[in-house]
């Protein structure tokens, strides 16, 4: 067997430049075949969806926007240890720690908390490593359909605590549900 005849896929074909017959050169058969193909597509299932009314199902491993969790008493879990920032491959997370005052016991769970906690959403790659690194189970990439809103100003993509911390009502609702 010569090397020219070897075909791994079994679909190898010899190219030929043979003259077309008269029937082929009229192209009528080819055109009719093409028309039949396009006509069939008229009744095929549409691949597009009516977006705002319908949405495509999210994958089970979908990672949405970050959320800083509260505990069952509504206190912020984050203790500003910096492990999330350290594990972040895109270096999107920055934070500044502060010490808890005695009258702030109802606000923060640990004695240290994040005074500033910022995520640059333009840098974040949603890898989920911050979620894995967090020893306090404070940061999560939610499975909600919450998506970072489009904007023309780059400054607006740096999310502070006001956008990241779980709203208090939601924490109360979650606690009520679990009890």
């Amino acid at each position: 067997m010569s090397i020219q005849n070897i075909s791994l896929s079994g679909r190898k074909k010899q190219v030929s430049n043979k003259e077309m017959t008269l029937g082929e050169r009229l192209y009528i058969g080819a055109i009719a075949g093409g028309m039949a193909t396009t006509f069939k597509h008229l009744f095929k299932k549409k691949v597009t969806i009516n977006y705002p009314e319908e949405t495509r199902p999210f994958s089970p491993v979908y990672r949405g926007q970050h959320m800083l969790m509260r505990d069952e008493e509504g206190r912020e879990r984050c203790t500003a240890c910096g492990l999330c920032a350290l594990s972040c491959p895109a270096e999107a997370i920055t934070m500044k720690a502060a010490e808890r005052k005695p009258d702030e016991k109802h606000l923060y769970r640990e004695e240290k908390y994040a005074e500033i906690y910022e995520i640059n959403m333009l840098r974040c790659i949603y890898c989920g490593l911050c979620e894995e690194a967090c020893p306090k189970q404070a940061i999560y990439l939610t499975t909600s359909k919450k998506i970072v809103k489009a904007d023309t100003n780059r400054e607006h993509f740096i999310f502070g605590k006001e956008q990241l911390v779980m709203p208090l009502e939601q924490a109360i609702r979650n606690t009520a549900k679990s009890e």
Partner: protein, 343 residues
């Protein structure tokens, strides 16, 4: 009596004009919808129920856009171009028989704006003028690409008009009349011309595609090499007029195809319907039948657009001059021989 005729004619003229405009409008929607369906998409469905108000929205948008005028040596011609295209596309509809007679208020109303006995000559005369609109528009744009595109259109339209005219000659010989009304009436029941003139029909169909600048003959509008074509410099409603003229021409040529080859308003069982339900009802159904036929051809135009790729320029010329014209002449000779043998 004289006044009644004037009123009757005015009503018919307005109706014909309105129908042509309406069809041309909804052709744009149909085009987008069918294009979408063939590509497994949904198409416009936001404006109105199922997107039915989309043509109005498109029109509003075109009116609201900025009218850009290039630095052209002749502003008048630049503005004139789209209007010539538009007028010529609409003028053909005057001689088309939309149906047989209808009896309204004791009067026999002929459903045709103008029953002239040189209708075919008139159609070809008007069709050949429509090339001026594109030519003038392309030239006045002061843009080399537009000029090249306009030249292409001119040569294409002229070469295909010859084949189109020749394909009609055989038909005129068969009916020995140039009046569209006579040709329509001569195809009673199922005596449609397509069965007697299949080659002529095919030539006329291909030439209609070329005449209306539709794919696969839309060399006038090449995004790739002519950045748009003859209407590159046109914007807003002026551009809209060019597109509108294209759709109006498409509607008119669909109508011509239906009238000349697919039996116009005739349908099998017409005599039976006239006997049982009366002349008026039979002719009323005839109008609907004609519109179904027209819609079929409009659909065919759009269907072909998404099937057959665009011709190269030399292929286009080869097809026109070396294939269609000889074929049309052979068709005339065959028809002549058959008619001679019959008589």
């Amino acid at each position: 009596m004289e006044e009644a005729i004037i009123i009757e004619k005015s009503v018919i003229i307005v109706a014909v004009f309105a129908i042509t405009m309406l069809f041309a409008m909804y052709c744009t929607l149909a085009e987008r919808k069918i294009a979408a369906w063939i590509q497994d998409r949904r198409g416009p469905n936001r404006a109105g129920p199922g997107g039915m108000l989309q043509p109005l929205a498109d029109g509003l948008k075109l009116f609201a856009k900025e009218e850009f005028m290039p630095n052209t040596p002749n502003t008048f011609l630049f503005v004139l171009g789209p209007f010539i295209s538009m007028t010529m596309a609409l003028m053909t509809s005057a001689v088309i028989p939309w149906g047989d007679t209808l009896e309204i208020g004791g009067r026999k109303v002929v459903l045709q704006a103008a029953d002239i006995n040189v209708a075919m000559l008139y159609v070809f005369a008007v069709l050949s003028v429509s090339v001026y609109g594109i030519m003038i528009g392309g030239w006045a744009s002061n843009n080399k690409y537009s000029l090249i595109s306009a030249m292409r259109v001119a040569s294409q339209m002229i070469s295909y008009e010859i084949a189109m005219g020749l394909s009609i000659v055989a038909l005129l010989m068969m009916h020995s009349s140039m009046s569209l009304r006579d040709i329509a009436a001569g195809q009673h029941e199922m005596n449609w011309n397509i069965f007697y003139q299949p080659i002529g029909f095919l030539i006329f169909l291909i030439c209609s595609f070329a005449e209306t600048n539709r794919t696969p003959f839309d060399l006038a509008e090449c995004e790739q090499e002519l950045i748009g074509g003859y209407h590159t410099e046109y914007s807003s409603m002026r551009m809209g007029f060019f597109l509108f003229a294209e759709y109006a021409a498409m509607f008119i040529s669909s109508t011509l195809l239906a009238v000349l080859y697919l039996g116009a308003y005739n349908y099998p069982g017409m005599t039976w319907a006239a006997e049982n339900w009366g002349e008026n009802a039979a002719n009323g159904i005839g109008i609907a039948v004609l519109f179904v036929k027209i819609c079929f051809f409009i659909f065919l135009y759009m269907w072909v657009r998404w099937t057959i790729p665009r011709f190269r320029y030399d292929q286009l010329m080869n097809l026109g001059w070396k294939t269609l014209i000889p074929l049309a002449i052979i068709n005339i000779v065959i028809t002549a021989v058959v008619l001679l043998l019959k008589s």
